[in-house]
Amino acid sequence: MESFKKLIQLSDKDNVLVVCRDIESGEVLQLGSENYLIKEFIALGHKIASRDIAFGEAIVKFNVAIGSALRDIKRGEHVHVHNIKSDFIPTYIIDKGTDV
């Protein structure tokens, strides 16, 4: 059943990897010769850092910049709206209560 990949790298220049199913805290994911210890729940389709990413650095997925880091991000950490931002239009989150 669990024969399929749990982690994919979409392009060789990417600094994020995509998880292919829900990952529980404490799981170790393997990609090639690399191991990633996951310290939080990560849902299917979400991203983790493939290496340490510094504050302000571009986040690269599919070989394209999809935003930049709001703080230093550790290798294996969840990469999402809490630690990266758009370089075009800010991402809307209901909890922030912003209106248009």
């Binding site: 292919c20 599919f62 910049a65 990469v79 075009f88 239009i89 991402t91």
Partner: protein, 402 residues
């Protein structure tokens, strides 16, 4: 499974267009006539009667154009217009345009008829006469080159850009190669894709037009203060509009782009087209597209016979007039909502199939749907539509490259 080599039979219209469905429309011309229209149509759903309409009382050229194109769509065979009587919509002109297309048309004006009950009675009596006529619509052979296929994504998540969207892109490449007409849109979701898309234009001038169009969209959304992005996109793993754009854009495949059209413009030769859904000029009426169905309605107004709709979070919508094929990007969503979906592209995520295999499945589904077999959303009775206010300038001479 439908044999894709069999001959496809469509419906021939007097204006020469060919449809894959034989819909009778009840079209209201202001919200005040919406209820009466729904009541008129309700008993005849199984006979192919559907409701569309424009809710606004103030006149708008874009809305008139969309309504005209919906009422003369190849999948539509006859139209009943329902007017309250005092709205600004030019019902006489619309009726004339429908008549000129060779489609039977009748107008019920509620204020002249004497109110709700009499309007329903008059409308239904016309429908009864027309339903028996419509059964006799001439059937004619249709080929891929007669078909216009549109694509949209809705309820996207991070799987959309990895499975369903690139699979649709491969299907689009094959459709264009086989002389069909394919239309993509969502110019507000091409943030960061400018260079790539401009390079795909068939002429340098068209590339410049596309560049203007994308810059216009970026500016428009910036003024709105909100990208084409919803909370569910973030829940599904998309962090920024650039990331969502990258995924959305992959639906267009890699073919050369033959033209840039605006809502209601129907391409007149095969190829791949970008539909510019963002209004021209200063923002006047709010968000360019308030939801997925407004985009679907505009794609259909531009002649689409079938819509390829990709979803990760799980959208259930369909559409009036043209069938919607639902391609589910997320394997977990597919397990939860399989009755609403036509294709499970999420299998790619589980390494069970390749993108190429899913794209073939989508291609076969298009042929099957064109043959008359209902899609999941049609089977469930979905018939959404949204027409609203917009302002557009006509397209320029460089926008279509033969």
């Amino acid at each position: 499974m439908y044999n894709s080599h069999a001959e496809l039979l469509g419906y021939e219209r007097k204006d020469g267009r060919k449809g894959i469905r034989n819909v009778i429309l009840v079209a209201y011309l202001v919200e005040c006539a919406h209820f009466v229209s729904t009541e008129i149509a309700q008993p005849y759903k199984k006979d192919g009667v559907q409701v569309v309409g424009f809710g606004g009382c103030y006149p708008n050229n874009h809305a008139s154009k969309i309504m005209t194109q919906l009422c003369t769509h190849p999948n539509v065979g006859a139209v009943l217009l329902v007017s309250l009587g005092c709205e600004s919509f030019n019902r006489t002109k619309l009726a004339r345009d429908i008549e000129a297309s060779g489609r039977p048309v009748e107008t019920v004006v509620i204020q002249s008829c004497g109110g709700t009950a009499k309007s329903i009675e008059n409308g239904q009596s016309w429908l009864q006469s027309i339903i028996s006529e419509m059964v006799k619509t001439k059937r004619v052979k249709i080929e891929l080159k007669d078909l216009v296929i549109g694509t949209i994504c809705g309820g996207s998540d991070a799987t959309s850009g990895i499975t369903a969207n690139p699979a649709v892109g491969l299907t689009f490449d094959k459709l264009v190669k086989n002389q069909a007409t394919a239309i993509f849109e969502e110019t507000g979701e091409m943030i960061g894709c400018l260079e790539d898309i401009v390079a795909r234009a068939k002429s340098k001038n068209l590339g410049t037009e596309i560049e203007h169009c994308l810059n216009k969209a970026a500016r428009y959304y910036t003024i709105m203060g909100h990208g084409s992005f919803a909370q569910g996109n973030a829940d599904g793993g998309l962090s920024t509009i650039e990331e969502k754009s990258l995924g959305a854009y992959s639906k267009s495949g890699s073919a050369e782009i033959s033209g840039l059209i605006k809502p209601g413009d129907v391409p007149n030769f095969p190829g791949l087209y970008l539909l510019d859904v963002v209004p021209d000029g200063e923002p006047r009426f709010g968000f360019p597209n308030i939801n997925d169905n407004m985009e679907i309605t505009e794609l259909i107004a531009s002649g689409c016979h079938i819509i390829l709709f990709t979803t990760g979070r799980g959208s259930v919508v369909g559409s009036a007039i043209s069938p919607v094929i639902k391609i589910c990007a997320n394997p977990d969503t597919f397990r939860k909502m399989s009755a609403d979906m036509d294709i499970n592209a999420g299998k790619v995520m589980e390494s069970k199939v390749t993108l190429q295999e899913v794209s073939e499945e989508i291609y076969d589904k298009i042929i099957e749907t064109a043959s008359g077999i209902p899609t999941a959303s049609e089977e469930l009775g979905h018939q959404e539509y949204v027409v609203s206010y917009k302002t557009f300038e006509p397209i320029g001479p460089n926008c279509l490259v033969r």
